[in-house]
């Protein structure tokens, strides 16, 4: 396992390096000149040169990338902002603060949003899927399938906007979504994220219901399950020990991908509910041409997806002894 993890970590590092280099080239190849946006309304060539120096953009592209990369390990000094300690991801062109500090500031919101929603959609989705599999063909099963099909077809910007309009603006049934800190004010944190959790759960629950149901039905028809039943093992034990455990691998796979994506940036959710997380940050960075921020968000998002892939693979090995890690 240790060798496996080390090998995967090294691979992940290489992937991130390639992603960062490609991202850097792509974003900096855009013909728009961020230095112009920084320069005053009436901008002389000298002003523009000063701005480029301040932003670290007056060098050749490969050299700029090298400085960006080296700053991750040794930090950097910017003429306009001063020292940026390692690991330095640069200074934001927009809010003029260290990119890393901004990302660390936004991450708790995204983590809260993701993990809270995950708890809800896992409990509801997996639970409903198990019930539907257990009562296959019943009204409950058909209802769960219909509901899951309906909600999995919907988008957050649609349900979220409707929910905001009716549940918050019109009726006031739910509090307005907002950022909060679980350590400073747990009640405000909970109330501020309640609606986003519900909306995210509505969509994700449907996927987990369908996936759990189909996977468990498939497991229940396996030979070893039939054998267990034939030997007189109680139905509940068969259901939980064999079918449920057999389905767990698929659930973890999907969950790993979902968590990686959500942590990397629940862009639409955070924009719809005005939450200041990583997803919202990435949109703002695109709109504002904030290249250092965009670079950092892409690398962090990619890193999270790679990380969750490693976690999923490791979890596989723990759950299923048939999987061998070389």
């Amino acid at each position: 396992m240790f060798r496996f993890l080390v090998r995967r970590m090294l691979g992940a590092g290489a992937i991130l390096l390639i992603i960062s280099a490609i991202t850097f080239c792509l974003f900096y190849a855009v013909p728009a000149d961020p230095a112009r946006s920084f320069c005053g309304k009436i901008c002389s060539p000298t002003d523009l040169e000063t701005v480029r120096t301040n932003l670290g953009m007056n060098e050749a592209l490969p050299l700029q990338y090298w400085h960006w990369f080296v700053a991750l390990f040794v930090g950097r000094t910017y003429p306009a902002w001063g020292d940026c300690a390692a690991p330095c991801l640069g200074y934001s062109f927009t809010n003029h603060e260290p990119v890393l500090a901004t990302i660390l500031d936004r991450f708790p919101t995204t983590i809260s949003l993701t993990l809270g929603a995950a708890v809800v959609f896992l409990v509801l989705g997996v639970g409903a899927g198990m019930l539907a599999a257990h009562k296959q063909g019943s009204l409950l099963d058909k209802s769960a399938s219909a509901i899951s099909l309906t909600f999995s077809s919907m988008q957050i910007y649609f349900i979220g906007t409707l929910a905001m309009y009716f549940l918050v603006r019109q009726t006031g049934l739910l509090p307005e979504p907002h950022d909060g800190s679980i350590t400073q004010d747990p009640a405000a944190w909970f109330s501020g994220l309640l609606l986003p959790w519900i909306v995210l759960a509505l969509i994700f629950t449907a996927n987990y219901t369908r996936m759990t149901r189909s996977s468990m039905i498939e497991q229940l028809s396996e030979d070893h399950v039939r054998t267990a039943r034939a030997k007189g093992m109680p139905g509940r034990t068969v259901f939980l020990r064999y079918a449920w455990r057999g389905s767990l691998g698929q659930i973890i796979t999907i969950l790993g991908i979902d968590l990686g994506s959500l942590l990397g940036g629940a862009i639409i959710t955070e924009t719809t509910f005005n939450l200041h997380g990583i997803g919202r940050l990435s949109i703002d960075a695109v709109v504002d041409n904030d290249l250092p921020m965009l670079m950092a968000v892409v690398v962090v998002a990619a890193g999270l997806i790679v990380l969750f892939n490693i976690i999923v693979d490791a979890a596989y090995a723990l759950i299923d002894p048939r999987i061998r890690l070389a």
């Binding site: 728009a32 309304k41 301040n54 001063g82 603006r169 005005n274």
Partner: protein
């Protein structure tokens, strides 16, 4: 006071067809008026004058029914880019700075009457030596938030530090005037121990500026936030942008960049010294991140709970909600409206369209009415009457080419002009900022130009590169949209910037590549005038003279609509900034 970013924002707003501004707010109105046959009445507009020493005395005139106290919540899309006044060059940043920053001069607004007055200074400045020397005297009792007196040394330091290399986003007029050369090469700021000889702190209360050339509206320039005071002792250089020392009625007590900002009273601010700010609330809570539609929905619903005390400086009503808002009588008392102080043009590339008759044909063919209809109809704006916006001192309503009388365009006249020019079937490349609304507008323009006998090529340009493209000298486009906002309300920051042929260069704002020796000479003559009234009159006349040479087509002066909570009072539209001023805001019981 508008930066490229704000202009881009204005362009975006234009794009969704929402905007505008006027001199009338919930409670305001007045100003100059005129009417036209088809364009509808030109909305009320503010005009600016220079006040006396008496006008400069505090406290600000009380707002009827207003009481001090309470907390106002303000929701915005973006955080304020800078807090160091020297770096502030946007209307949003300047408006916020009113709460924490003061300058030598500022604008006092009473209804639609806007007066340039002394803010920290006892009056709006005393020119001498034919406008080459300006003297300001500081008022008694003006202090920093730490209780120390604001002195002329602070003012001198504030001006000198605008030369520092880390100050790159503010205005640069005064730096240029003080050095009369590339100011970045002339002086590096005060941190190395060098100082400017022509900014003289004569005594703790008197500051004198000496120039080689006359600058009749220097006192207007000093009202820009860029030139507001920064404490010499409290200057933390780059760090000042994060935590400035307040000279205004409030001080920053908490800030999480891009999320929240909290202001509380600066107990060392004395209302008796301030003719501009009433500063009624005890506290301001800002929250950022609200997009146009959610912000509008929140403000539409703002008649219960905390929403009652919520407002926004610049979250104009989203285009998709405009008709709903205008048609809802219950929102009338909570709706502030105004006309844009920004000028709106369709530039003609004079380097490619060299024949004036062809340019005139374009103007005659231009479908202003259809464009306005596409933007959302008459509620979205008035047809522009000239190159200068009506809020600019010296504005004269001209309509040289009869566009107000015939805003739908005159294809027959255009055809005749093309024939006269020997340019029938003239090829025209029309470029637009590639947004959904501008795509629709481009169809309207293409149709009108074809009808008038032009061979039209439509060219979309990516939003991110729009300004880079249109500010190139050798651009392969003939006509394109552009906006411009005066940095202070005289022609000095409009016509020379946009139409002085000697400024043509990549990145210059002479987007139309217009170069006429007669106009260049007239700009020099007007700039040298020492009497501001005479100068303003001359700018108005020059506006007409330039228009007669057909370098551009005046577009639509958009309107601005913004809602606030039901317990917000004194939300007054600032006609110079296209924004809701915080100065008179109070909470209703």
């Amino acid at each position: 006071m508008i930066s490229r970013k704000t202009l881009r924002a204005a362009a975006a707003v234009l794009t969704v067809g929402t905007l505008t501004l006027t001199a009338c707010s919930s409670g305001g109105g007045g100003g100059s008026k005129s009417s036209d046959a088809k364009g509808g009445k030109l909305s009320d507009q503010a005009q600016v004058s220079v006040g006396t020493a008496a006008d400069s005395q505090g406290p600000a005139k009380a707002v009827e029914g207003a009481k001090a106290g309470g907390t106002v919540k303000d929701i915005e899309r973006d955080d304020f880019e800078h807090l160091d006044p020297a770096q502030v060059y946007t209307n949003t940043g300047s408006n916020f700075s009113q709460l924490i920053t003061r300058g030598l001069t500022g604008y006092k607004q009473e209804g639609s009457k806007v007066t340039l007055v002394g803010d920290l200074a006892t009056d709006a400045g005393k020119p001498s030596d034919g406008g080459k020397t300006w003297t300001f005297t500081l008022k008694d009792g003006v202090k920093w938030e730490n209780g120390e007196a604001i002195t002329s040394a602070d003012v001198k330091h504030s001006i000198e530090r605008t030369f520092a290399p880390f100050i790159t986003q503010g205005a640069s007029y005064v730096q240029q005037w003080l050095t009369d050369q590339d100011y970045r090469k002339a002086y590096e700021g005060p941190y190395g121990g060098k100082h400017l000889d022509n900014v003289i702190a004569q005594d703790p209360k008197t500051i004198v500026f000496k120039f080689d050339k006359p600058h009749a509206d220097f006192n207007y320039a000093m009202a820009m936030t860029t030139y507001a005071v920064v404490s010499e002792k409290g200057d933390t250089k780059e760090e000042y942008d994060k935590k400035p020392l307040s000279s205004g009625p409030y001080k920053i007590v908490d800030r999480v960049t891009d999320k929240t900002l909290t202001l509380e009273r600066n107990t060392n601010w004395d209302a008796k010294t301030d003719p501009i700010r009433n500063a009624y609330p005890d506290k301001w809570n800002f929250e950022f991140g609200f997009q146009a539609i959610p912000a509008t929905d929140k403000l539409i619903a703002a008649d219960k709970g905390e929403d009652q005390t919520t407002m926004s400086f610049y979250a104009s009503t989203a285009g998709d909600r405009l008709q709903k808002v205008l048609g809802d009588a219950s929102l009338k008392d909570r709706l502030v409206k105004g006309n844009s102080p920004y000028a709106d043009y369709y530039w003609i590339n004079n380097k490619r369209i060299t024949n004036q008759k062809v340019r005139e044909a374009l103007i005659q063919a231009w479908p202003l009415q259809q464009i306005r209809q596409t933007e959302g109809g008459p509620d979205t704006g008035d047809y522009s009457r000239s190159l200068l916006n009506p809020t600019v001192a010296g504005f004269q309503e001209t309509d040289v080419w009869g566009k107000i009388a015939k805003p739908e365009g005159d294809p027959d006249k255009a055809k005749a002009l093309l024939k006269e020019a020997g340019a029938e079937n003239q090829k025209i490349v029309y470029a637009y900022n590639n947004t959904p609304k501008q795509q629709q507008i481009s169809v309207v323009i293409e149709s009108a130009l074809k009808k008038a006998g032009f061979d039209v090529v439509i060219k979309p340009i990516d939003t991110k590169t729009w300004y880079d493209e249109i500010s190139k000298v050798d651009k392969e486009i003939d006509v394109f949209w552009g906006g411009w906002g005066a940095d202070w309300p005289t022609g000095a920051t409009v016509l020379p910037v946009l139409f002085d042929g000697r400024t043509i260069a990549d990145g210059s704002q002479n987007y139309s590549n217009f170069n006429d020796p007669e106009i260049n000479a007239e700009i020099d003559r007007i700039m040298a005038l020492s009497d501001s009234a005479e100068q303003n009159k001359a700018w108005g006349a020059l506006d007409k003279k330039i228009l007669e040479k057909a370098p551009a087509i005046p577009g639509i002066t958009n309107k601005f609509y913004i809602l606030h909570g039901s317990k917000i009072g004194g939300a007054e539209y600032d006609p110079l900034g296209q924004i809701i001023s915080p100065n008179k805001v109070f909470l209703k019981p």
